[in-house]
Symmetry: C2
């Protein structure tokens, strides 16, 4: 079990107080968060810092970006089973139309999608919309 510090260092990311806090914030969240969410959680800090921190995390494959169709970019920690580095990794995200939250279903893989002749599939983005387990009353 490596510490967050070790994780960041292993990815060539300089460890700062802010980065540790943001990482912890993301780790505690079970849902994908927007930049605004992070802003709200760290009002003392500047938007830009938060934005650039997320971008750094993204470059180093610590978080991945999710486009759930709300028009607002969301981010979530890459967890075990999330091979974002690999182009062909098949993400699956679920967006709840009720609570408006988006979660990462890393253990639900996407079936192979057939494309017409001449087309080359490199990557698949799949967002399922509906009602999440919390909202469906279970």
């Amino acid at each position: 079990m490596q510490t967050i510090e070790q994780l960041l260092e292993s990815k060539d990311i300089r460890v700062t107080a802010m980065r540790l806090l943001i990482y912890k914030f993301l780790a505690e969240k079970e849902v994908a968060v927007t930049l605004s969410d992070i802003e709200d959680a760290f009002e003392k800090s500047d938007r830009t810092t938060l934005y650039r921190t997320i971008k750094t995390f993204e470059e180093k494959d610590i978080v991945h970006q999710i486009d759930d169709g709300t028009g607002i970019t969301k981010y979530a920690l890459c967890e075990k089973g999330c091979n974002c580095e690999i182009e062909t990794d098949l993400h699956l995200h679920f967006h709840c139309n009720n609570c408006n939250e988006t979660i990462c279903l890393t253990d639900h893989k996407i079936p192979q999608i057939k494309v017409p002749d001449g087309f080359v599939s490199e990557n698949v983005n799949l967002v399922v919309k509906g009602i999440c387990d919390k909202c469906s009353g279970q």
Copy 2:
């Protein structure tokens, strides 16, 4: 074979010169277009008009919106086999990482996606990214 005028009327959309032109523009395009694309094609007209025309078309299920992950909303005509009215219609779109164009693969349906217990799937947005037939050199 009904005319565009008849189609618009059947959907309770008042026929105007602008709407006919925009419809024809969309029909000629084989790819999904952004609002900017339409703007560029109709410089004489105002953004707002084009925007509201597309929104009207969208409400009346003449075009559907596509979120291909570029962050910019695209639109495409609903064609035969495109049942946008139906929530559960399984759209499949292809975004080319080379030419940056997005096309609608209406005849390629999406397989049933399994979601965890407690989750209810209402709608699926699937975008396959890769290289399109034109760019793959076929």
